[in-house]
């Protein structure tokens, strides 16, 4: 495992938060996913060693929680809320707009590698529906026009980088 020094020190720190090391499984998975971008196979055995567990104990956690992913994603992660309050105000059209703008399908990395568009369940901001979580930032009242505008901005940033 080739983790950043900061990640390693945060891992050692977070383990001290719990009287039983196993409790640090989720925090360690979060820290590794933030560093690496996903949970590679070797991370599972690495965490198991670190916490004195069997790899299966970590593996069953990775496969249970929707936020942990086994494969790399696009540079930006667009999570559109799928649940009722957002759907009532057009969440499905919001998602379709992102798919169209980046020429991709839900759950896949776009061909240019810029984004992964995904439907997720309730983001707990139902009063400002439809909502979209892009990386760590919540965007509210994202109708088709606003989805287009956000897509344009992401594309412009990608262009500026190249």
């Amino acid at each position: 495992m080739n983790l950043k020094a900061e990640t390693l020190s945060r891992i050692d720190e977070v383990i001290t938060h719990y009287p039983v090391k196993r409790s640090a499984t989720l925090p360690l998975l979060h820290l590794i996913q933030e560093d690496v971008g996903h949970i590679p196979e070797e991370a599972i055995t690495w965490i198991a060693d670190k916490l004195g567990l069997e790899p299966i104990n970590v593996y069953e956690v990775v496969t249970f929680y929707p936020m942990f992913r086994r494969k790399p994603i696009g540079r930006r992660h667009i999570k559109v809320c799928r649940t009722l309050s957002c759907a009532l105000l057009g969440g499905y059209k919001t998602c379709a707009t992102f798919e169209k703008e980046f020429n991709t399908h839900c759950g896949e990395v776009s061909p240019d590698g810029e984004v992964t568009v995904e439907f997720v369940e309730c983001l707990a901001s139902c009063g400002t529906a439809p909502v979209v979580l892009i990386d760590d930032d919540l965007h509210e009242k994202v109708d088709e026009a606003k989805a287009k505008q956000i897509s344009d901005q992401i594309k412009a940033e990608a262009k500026a980088r190249k």
Binding site: L84, K93, A124
Partner: protein, 452 residues
């Protein structure tokens, strides 16, 4: 009758211009003064105040907080843990988000008072994974509170020490169920535990006595410690004390969060006067009053029966608009106050499609350990999705009911009820719409709004 004024206790500073989430701002507004006084009082006195207040848990079940605290095993000699349930995930609910992001110290103060009252030396805030900024804000707030002596060692200069750590979830709704949450905090899959005989108050985190309280509930504890249980009990109505934060979403003019004394506002006042009524040219069709697992209400239906007012039994005859928004009244008409998430649907919504959306949620979120729930939620999703996207049959309504009726009461946790109540209530209230759906589909506009 005009709607009452909002009484903002918990949301007092939410969206207030100039109010920030740092400790300086909180202290300028009188923050941590209640904790300072609380740690000089006998802990049992604080527990008694909470009991007197009648405070009921704001996470969904409405269980009395004082009773929950009273069940804690204090004789085992094991450490007692307190976990803040900040895994807000019941669709339609979004109150805790604003407390965490805009007023985190209110939660920390309420948590510390509750910890002191219950002799807790270690607490965790279990925050849902989808609140990454919320987790950072809480960590920063905790560091500030630690530096100021309100969290950690020797709180407010006393011998009492208690630390709080933030623990992030990872996108699983079932972690809101308290024993699922405990399993998750132990680093495992969030499979809820079998109970009874042992509840978390006796065997919880690490098999130690554990209290799990909702974010809003703990904020109310702060208010109770400040003003006393009796003063709190005067707000609202008997058995539904204090304020409630309602989160309104869906088809209303002004969705959002509104805090009222419990039971003093009716559903009609909330939706028409406070939220501005239906969208232009539309009429209300249905409302889910307490988070998406609460049973749906159909506008136009009436509820009749007898209820207790003081010592008397009086008749009631309510339309949906007349129902007071409290745990007991909503319970009487066959639904629940739940988490306070009110989801409104107007006449543009087809109920088969709305149910298909809800069923997809519950199927995705079932933890999978009990067969009736895992398979039942999956099949309810498959049937309703097929009705919308494939072939719909008139007999699907009966088929759905057959599946839904076999789930509740046959599972380890209340998710079995939560996932079957939508299907049962949609069919009970809108059965014709399900039976007619094969015909309805034929005339559906191609560009109509998709719900699943």
């Amino acid at each position: 009758m005009p709607a009452p004024q909002q009484t903002r206790i918990i949301f007092k500073h939410i969206d207030e211009p100039g109010y920030s989430n740092d400790i300086g701002c909180y202290v300028r507004h009188g923050g941590y003064e209640v904790l300072k006084k609380a740690v000089t009082r006998p802990p049992q006195e604080l527990i008694d105040e909470v009991k007197k207040s009648g405070l009921r848990g704001r996470g969904g079940a409405g269980f009395p907080c004082g009773v929950k605290w009273g069940l804690v095993d204090r004789k085992s000699g094991k450490p007692i843990y307190l976990i803040v349930n900040a895994d807000e995930s019941e669709p339609g609910t979004f109150k805790d988000r604003y407390i965490i992001h805009q007023d985190p110290h209110q939660l920390i103060e309420g948590t510390m008072i509750s910890c002191f009252a219950n002799n807790v030396q270690q607490a965790y805030i279990y925050i849902r994974g989808e609140f990454p900024h919320g987790a950072r804000i809480l960590e920063k707030a905790l560091a500030e509170a630690r530096a100021a002596g309100f969290v950690g060692k020797n709180i407010c200069g006393t011998n009492y020490s208690c630390d709080i750590f933030v623990h992030r979830g990872a996108g699983a709704y079932i972690c809101g169920e308290e024993t699922g949450l405990i399993e998750s905090l132990e680093g495992k899959r969030a499979n809820p535990r079998i109970k009874p005989p042992y509840f978390p108050a006796v065997l919880g985190l690490y098999q130690c006595p554990t209290i799990v309280n909702n974010v809003e509930t703990l904020c109310h504890v702060k208010y109770i410690a400040e003003h006393g249980g009796e003063a709190f009990a005067k707000i609202g109505t008997p058995n539904n004390t204090g304020t409630r934060v309602f989160c309104v979403s869906g088809h209303v003019q002004r969705p959002g969060y509104y805090e009222f004394p419990a039971g003093t506002i009716t559903l009609g006042q909330l939706l028409h006067e406070i939220c501005g009524g239906p969208l232009p040219g539309r009429t209300f069709k249905a409302v889910i009053p307490g988070g998406s697992s609460a049973k749906i209400l159909r506008f136009g239906e009436r509820f009749k029966g007898k209820r207790k007012v003081g010592a008397d039994l009086v008749d009631y005859d309510w339309g949906v608009e007349d129902v007071p928004m409290d745990f007991d009244s909503l319970g009487m008409i066959g639904t629940m106050g739940g988490s306070g998430g009110v989801i409104v649907m107007d006449d543009s919504v087809n109920m088969v499609e709305a149910l298909a959306n809800i069923n997809a949620f519950y199927s995705h979120e079932s933890c999978g350990q009990c067969t009736p729930c895992r398979e039942g939620s999956l099949w309810m999703k498959k049937i309703t999705t097929r009705m919308v996207h494939g072939q719909a049959r008139a007999e699907d309504a009966a088929l759905l009911k057959g599946v839904a009726d076999q789930i509740p009461g046959r599972t380890i946790c209340a998710f079995g009820e939560a996932c079957s109540w939508p299907t049962q209530s949609f069919l009970a209230k809108f059965g014709d719409e399900f039976r007619q759906y094969p015909e309805t589909k034929k005339t559906k506009a191609a560009d109509s709004r998709a719900l699943v």
